[in-house]
């Protein structure tokens, strides 16, 4: 194997076909960046599900001073009503795993912690926040059982399933992810076709060389290697650009904007970025190489 000679041929090939190579690098970069972003959104959703499904509760808000629903017409919840609700919740075991009572004062404490710096804090007092039962279910999907038992009951203001809220959020994120992956798939298809075309043009523009190589008995491998390396090199460059874009996405959007603004949840870490980068890199180089090999089989026969 004459490495320097082969590399020389690769460089000549790239120089002659520079615009096409640049086009390949760009499409590979954009499609892989989208693909990687889709994968990152998915890890984000998984991460949030793990984090939140463990914490979600059904909240049963009890009537307070400001409640306006019919079941609260008789004013704030009485001690007897409160005890009755607690007893009924206990009787729903094993579906109800844990019951935690949060008083108005505790709710206010939690609220003040969460919105430490927000101006809204000064206009709210403990009386404005309802007391509630926080119920953890052994099977979070059986929310309806609890809801039907307590909604409309005297002393109960409302029953709120946090899972509902989260599921809407996850649906939106999943939509983003699917969209990104579909566009990425289309872009990858375009990339494959572009690589195939680039190779075809390159094979045509070098048909004198390849013709002589065939004639003097160069092996197929030797004839095809420069073309294959060209495609792989362009794909490698594109993949590196894509990985750079993903790192920027993580550093600027996730670490710079999302994390400071939404402190209630975790965001994907650099480990996920590294993992996605590896997948993106292998996918890009493999796709380009396979596209190149298939095209070469058609256009550079012995």
């Amino acid at each position: 194997m004459r490495v320097r000679f082969v590399l020389g041929e690769v460089m000549t090939g790239i120089r002659r076909n520079l615009t096409m190579t640049v086009a390949v690098v760009i499409t590979v970069a954009v499609s892989l960046a989208l693909f990687g972003a889709g994968l990152m959104v998915r890890s984000q959703v998984d991460l949030m599900k793990d984090y939140w499904y463990d914490k979600v509760q059904v909240s049963i808000y009890l009537c307070g001073n400001t409640s306006e629903v019919i079941s609260c017409a008789q004013g704030p919840v009485t001690q007897a009503q409160r005890e009755e609700i607690r007893a009924d919740l206990q009787s729903l075991q094993p579906l109800v795993e844990e019951v935690y009572y949060e008083s108005s004062a505790e709710a206010f404490q939690r609220f003040s912690d969460q919105f430490r710096d927000a101006p809204i804090l000064s206009s709210i007092s403990a009386e404005d926040l309802p007391e509630s039962f926080r119920v953890k279910l052994s099977d979070p999907t059986k929310y309806d059982v609890v809801a039907s038992a307590f909604i409309g009951r005297p002393g109960v203001d409302s029953v709120n399933d946090q899972r509902r809220v989260l599921d809407t959020l996850f649906a939106i994120l999943n939509g983003f992810q699917t969209g990104a992956l579909v566009i990425a798939a289309l872009m990858l298809l375009a990339t494959v076709l572009l690589v195939a075309n680039t190779i075809r043009v390159a094979a045509f523009s070098r048909r004198r060389e390849t013709g002589i190589m065939r004639l003097v008995g160069a092996s197929n491998f030797y004839i095809q290697l420069p073309f294959l390396l060209e495609a792989a090199l362009a794909a490698t460059l594109g993949a590196l650009v894509a990985i750079g874009l993903l790192a920027l996405l993580k550093a600027i959007l996730v670490d710079g904007v999302l994390t400071p603004s939404f402190q209630f949840t975790n965001f994907v870490g650099w480990d996920v970025v590294a993992q996605v980068s590896a997948i993106v890199f292998v996918t890009g180089v493999a796709l380009a190489s396979v596209a190149a090999l298939v095209t070469l089989r058609r256009y550079l026969r012995v």
Partner: protein, 229 residues
Amino acid sequence: MIRFANVTKHYPTQVRPALDDVTLEIAKGEFAFLVGASGSGKSTFLRLVLREDRPTKGSVHVAGKDLGRLPNWKVPHLRRQIGAVFQDFRLLPNKTVYENVAFALQVIGRPSAHIRAVVPEVIDLVGLAGKEQRFPDELSGGEQQRVAVARAFVNRPMILIADEPTGNLDPATSIGIMRLLDRINRTGTTVVMATHDAAIVDQMRKRVIELEHGQIVRDQTRGVYGVTR
């Protein structure tokens, strides 16, 4: 060295076969002319020797190998034992004389030291010493064909195939090329040359195989071009 046994070659687009039941043997070290009108089957014959095509019927043996049984991946090794020269030279215009000849060795993976030793030798043999750094368009037609011969011969093939090598050259230059081929033949290389050049065939007095409509109509050991034209 080359043996055809009842070889027929049909091309799908043509009714008449390009070669029709050809049986013939060219021995090691022989010099043979292949003559005949255009379309008589000369080029098909050479393509079958190089295994650019396979025969429809019959068997082709080259350098001791049955080409019908030679797997695709071994074809390059066969071609390393066959040098080929064409009417249109087929040089690379962006490479110098030296690079054009060295290219044939580089692409079959020969080591640099071997290339540096062998290429000047062959360039000297074909009479182009001192012109190593010229580009093909700075050379005359005869000189370009000498480069092509050097490239075909640099790997010391057992067989040299020449398809109308003097077709683009004037008679005086052609004689020079023929002397060169004769010298290569005398090193033990089998030479098969397809040609239309009657003067050259008559002068060389070598074996002449005449094809007509894909059949051998004449095979003389010290022949002349003959009347067909």
